[in-house]
């Protein structure tokens, strides 16, 4: 009985102690957390040479090549970062942009121009 009272008070005291500890939560829309350098957000393409490696490594089939353009569908993207990691020219980069919510789903289809350099065998 005495033991029960002791441990009940110990529990309550431990919880009570936390009233005086600095808050650890972040008030999100006003304050944003610091993103690490290799954070995986929205994909950005610059300097693509059409080697099609990203097509072969994308698990979600989110990447399509249209004539002279590369289309990345962020609705399908699972942010695994395979395309950026295996791109031999480092043309695809995962940016720090993560607030992708939109009311127009066509905004999520990202179109980037492909450079007209000669296609290289990689």
């Amino acid at each position: 009985m005495l033991k029960n009272i002791k441990y009940t008070f110990l529990s309550l005291f431990t919880v009570f102690k936390h009233l005086f500890i600095k808050s650890v939560t972040l008030e999100y829309p006003e304050k944003k957390s610091n993103l690490p350098e290799n954070f995986r957000g929205k994909a950005v393409v610059d300097g693509c040479v059409k080697c099609y490696t990203c097509l072969k490594v994308c698990p979600a089939n989110a990447i399509i090549f249209k004539d002279e353009q590369i289309e990345i569908d962020m609705k399908k993207c699972i942010f695994c970062g395979n395309c950026a990691y295996y791109c031999p020219k480092k043309a695809i980069r995962m940016s720090h942009e993560y607030e992708l919510a939109t009311d127009n789903k066509h905004d999520l289809k990202l179109l980037y121009d492909v450079s007209n350099e000669v296609k290289e065998n990689v």
């Binding site: 431990t14 954070f39 395979n82």
Partner: protein, 363 residues
């Protein structure tokens, strides 16, 4: 007394079944006379998907088999491929992998402590456990780019080397103090003891018959820890937590003790990383990767029991068949036995204590 019999649906909307487990209970008054788990609400076809995707395409998806312990499944899949290609990892990569696996185990157990106490109605420990788990997840985000679906291990190595170990040392410094806090709140708390002690008693023989592994088996007094024979853990000193309690309280206690053991392993791994400074990953061409024809199996001690990955390859870009063995699948089946004869009030306290996570069950 026919009018006291009732068929009751526990879940899938019940908050303590986490949205995806349905238990059909036969009640006689308040006593459970039969239990039928209904799974499949989270089925994604992980095994079938493997047959359609190349190995490198499938690698990011394996984290999602158990999103609370993604590194373990990455490690398993990578290990199967490494076995097939006969790749030997360098010491630094091994040490980094051990460190990340054990940090992931701590994060997984912390979440379990929080969620289990939340199921029982204690709200504060949930937030305290999540606060410490956040430190670990932020470290994962720093090194891999994402908090849970890390996709950081690759065949024959890691995506890139680790440079910063200060955060891990900070975690190692903070965690032991916080575990004292948890134990003060939970371990000897009379309400917690009344809810969990002598509830859901699992004998070792039943556990083995039902294929239970991991903490649940070790709490029944059976010493089985795959880490002791795992080559990855060679040279690490730690104790296997074996308790004789057999009840829900014991399963809580074992997980707290296991966190302490994991902290020891992480500390040793950090020391190992510091002594092995040369990072050399085996160069393989991951795109269009094929593995030789044959059968490859790998297993690991995951937070929820023994997990294994079995690949049958016919020499093509995708496996002919891929099979996952996950600990929770067997724990769900055990509910058929464990819940019978108990009161409906204890059903959640018992089911929660087995640490069932449904993505692992449904795959």
């Amino acid at each position: 007394m026919n009018n006291s019999r009732l068929k009751l649906n526990l879940g899938p909307q019940h908050p303590s079944t986490h949205g995806v487990l349905r238990l059909v209970l036969d009640l006689n008054g308040e006593k459970i006379t039969a239990c039928e788990p209904d799974v499949g609400y989270l089925h994604r076809g992980m095994e079938k998907m493997a047959e359609k995707l190349s190995y490198i395409q499938y690698l990011p998806l394996v984290d999602r088999i158990d999103y609370l312990a993604g590194f373990f499944y990455s490690e398993l899949f990578c290990r199967s491929i490494e076995n097939a290609l006969e790749i030997e990892l360098s010491n630094r990569i091994k040490a980094i992998r051990v460190m990340l696996l054990e940090l992931n185990r701590i994060a997984s157990h912390l979440l379990w402590i929080g969620a289990f106490l939340m199921d029982l109605g204690a709200v504060s420990p949930f937030f305290y456990a999540f606060r410490e788990r956040e430190l670990i997840l932020q470290y994962f985000e720093k090194i891999s780019g994402q908090r849970m679906m890390n996709n950081y291990f690759v065949f024959g190595g890691l995506r890139h080397d680790i440079f910063d170990l200060d955060d891990v040392e900070e975690i190692l410094r903070i965690l032991p103090e916080k575990i004292i806090d948890y134990e003060n709140i939970i371990t000897e708390n009379p309400i917690f003891i009344q809810r969990t002690a002598q509830k859901g008693i699992l004998e070792a023989s039943d556990a083995i018959n039902y294929g239970i592994t991991g903490v649940n088996l070790r709490t029944s007094g059976f010493n089985f820890d795959l880490r002791k024979t795992d080559k990855l853990y060679d040279g690490y000193e730690f104790d296997t937590v074996v308790l004789e309690n057999k009840d829900s309280w014991g399963r809580y206690k074992a997980r707290v003790l296991e966190i302490k053991e994991s902290i020891k392993i992480v500390a040793q791994a950090v020391a190992n990383i510091k002594t092995n400074t040369i990072y050399e990953a085996t160069k393989i061409k991951p795109v269009n990767l094929t593995i030789p024809e044959g059968e490859y199996c790998s297993e690991i001690e995951a937070p929820r029991g023994l997990a294994s990955c079995f690949i049958i390859s016919d020499g093509n870009k995708a496996p002919y068949r891929l099979k996952w063995r996950t600990g929770s699948y067997y724990a769900v089946n055990l509910l058929r036995k464990l819940l019978v004869g108990t009161y409906i009030n204890d059903a959640i306290a018992i089911a929660g204590s087995l640490d069932i996570i449904l993505p692992e069950v449904d795959k």
